[in-house]
């Protein structure tokens, strides 16, 4: 039988994922260096960048502790084009003129707080999107399951030529792609800047942060 992977080093690795690879590819890259069993606590789609929390060694069993945290994202949304997946990977569903600033402000306002939105088709996998696209072309509305998503903060950073940049602070399980779709557009770029108390600015793929250092920061968040 093959030999199980090492359980050391144990700890948390904060990585800044580039656009392109899957989250699991980053896991593979880290594991190749450390030789340890390595997982992660919440995926980023291939086109997205930013903070990915990797768990190494014995910390892989602590996935639950690092999930369900609030997240902060920076995103650029093309307001002129809806796609089947809410990102650049999906087929184009429709194009239209961008809204004017007043209309946009109103729509953004309605997205703050708890909003029920459709869960987007998986980005990494185009299958659902392709099907949604085909059905859409046939004039069939595709019912995606919905979920109550929480938008704690939504700040308009810029609005130039139909591309809007947003800074979003959202609850766990909130899809930025759903928000883009609700705005009649799709995510052109997506960057995760925070997960709970952890910021992408502390990302260092080479450093294994000991659990004694990472876990108390989670506890501090829960207490507030």
């Amino acid at each position: 039988m093959p030999i199980p992977k090492a359980l050391e080093p144990t700890g948390v690795i904060f990585a800044d994922k580039p656009a392109g690879p899957t989250s699991f590819a980053i896991v593979g890259r880290v594991r190749a260096r450390t030789g340890a069993k390595t997982g992660h606590a919440g995926t980023l789609d291939p086109f997205a960048t930013g903070l990915l929390i990797l768990l190494s060694g014995r910390a892989t069993s602590l996935q639950d502790r690092f999930m369900k945290l609030d997240k902060r994202y920076l995103t650029e949304i093309d307001l002129t084009t809806r796609t089947a997946t809410g990102d650049p990977e999906g087929n184009v569903l429709e194009t239209h003129d961008p809204p004017d600033d007043d209309t946009l402000a109103g729509v953004l306002d309605r997205l703050r707080g708890a909003v029920e939105l459709p869960i987007p088709a998986a980005s990494a996998v185009k299958i659902d999107g392709e099907r949604a696209y085909r059905l859409h072309r046939k004039g069939v509305a595709v019912e995606m399951p919905t979920r109550v998503m929480r938008v704690h903060e939504l700040e308009l950073v810029s609005h130039v030529d139909g591309i809007v940049a947003l800074d979003l602070h959202v609850g766990s399980g909130t899809y930025v792609r759903s928000i883009a779709d609700a705005l009649g557009g799709h995510c052109v770029s997506l960057r995760r800047t925070e997960i709970g108390p952890f910021s992408v600015e502390e990302a260092d793929e080479e450093r294994v942060v000991p659990l004694e250092e990472a876990l108390p920061r989670l506890a501090a968040v829960r207490d507030t």
Binding site: V27, R31, T38, G39, T43, Q63
Partner: protein, 288 residues
């Protein structure tokens, strides 16, 4: 280990999913499972019940009950198992639909499968289909010469060493203790009569040595020809055990085949042989 019966019961989270029937949870299966449990993602299994080949109308003697299969998956370190009913609806899913609902929808990022894995309508999906969908197909070390079919054949031939080597543990009988012929007690050897799922593979009739509830057991499998029986009976006699087993589930390891069933000239001759069987059972060695 958490058990789910529909993909919607699995929370979406980063998972490594091992897919298979896993009947017997033998060394080949364990190699697939290890790739998932070792991945660092939430180790998850999607398994099927009833056995797909039985659902398709074939005759297959299964190696483990679903209950035992789930126990063994838990022992292997699996955190969550989805038992998918192998229904005509499931069989009609295209590979893409299966991937969307069962894998992507549950957060799977990596998949571990055996060497001949096929899935979806007309078994048209394979590893390449999974990779095209953006899933990482984990490397699985192939274990040569181990298959459920080979284990079934070994068990039927009473090759318990061969079966144990492939299973990575002794072959087991698994059933509930029911009222039997009440004969053993009068002979001084009260046996537990085990009702076993008729779908489970049964070793060649004969007298075996093994273990149950942590005690040595002499096990009679067959029709009790001395008493002119015709129905199959599986009856372990637990050594140094005094207790009521009726209604309890019993998992019995088979270690060694001691002899064929026989018709004796007298009850005394039968009792004398049972005494020798008990001694042989004390001396028996656990395979593997």
């Amino acid at each position: 280990m958490r058990i789910a019966h529909a993909p919607s019961q699995l929370e979406r989270r980063p998972r490594a999913v091992a897919i298979g029937t896993f009947d017997g949870v033998h060394l080949g299966h364990r190699s697939v499972l290890l790739s998932a449990t070792d991945s660092g993602l939430e180790p998850t299994v999607i398994t099927f019940d009833p056995h797909p080949r039985i659902a398709m109308g074939n005759r297959v003697d299964i190696l483990t009950t679903l209950e035992r299969r789930l126990e063994l998956l838990a022992e292997a370190g699996v955190a969550e198992t989805l038992v998918a009913a192998f229904t005509p609806e499931l069989q009609r899913l295209t590979p893409d639909e299966f991937i969307a609902t069962y894998l992507v929808g549950t957060g799977a990022e990596a998949v571990a499968v055996g060497p001949d894995f096929r899935f979806g309508q007309r078994r048209s999906g394979d590893r390449a289909t999974l990779e095209r969908a953006g899933l990482a197909v984990l490397e699985v070390e192939e274990i040569e010469g181990v298959s459920s079919t080979a284990i079934r054949d070994a068990v039927r031939d009473a090759d318990l060493d061969g079966a144990a080597v492939m299973l990575g543990r002794p072959f087991e009988l698994d059933g509930v203790v029911v009222t039997g012929d009440q004969r053993g007690g009068t002979l001084g050897y009260p046996t537990a009569n085990i009702a076993m799922d008729p779908l489970l593979v049964c070793p060649r009739y004969g007298i075996y040595a093994g273990e149950a509830l942590g005690r040595r057991a002499a096990i009679s499998i067959g029709t009790n020809p001395h008493y002119g029986g015709t129905e199959r009976r599986i009856e372990p006699f637990l050594l140094d055990f005094d207790g009521d087993l009726y209604g309890k589930r019993l998992v019995v390891e088979l270690w060694e085949r001691l002899r064929d069933e026989a018709v004796f000239d007298s009850e005394e001759a039968l009792v004398a042989q049972i005494a020798r069987d008990v001694e042989a059972t004390r001396a028996a060695a656990r395979p593997v």
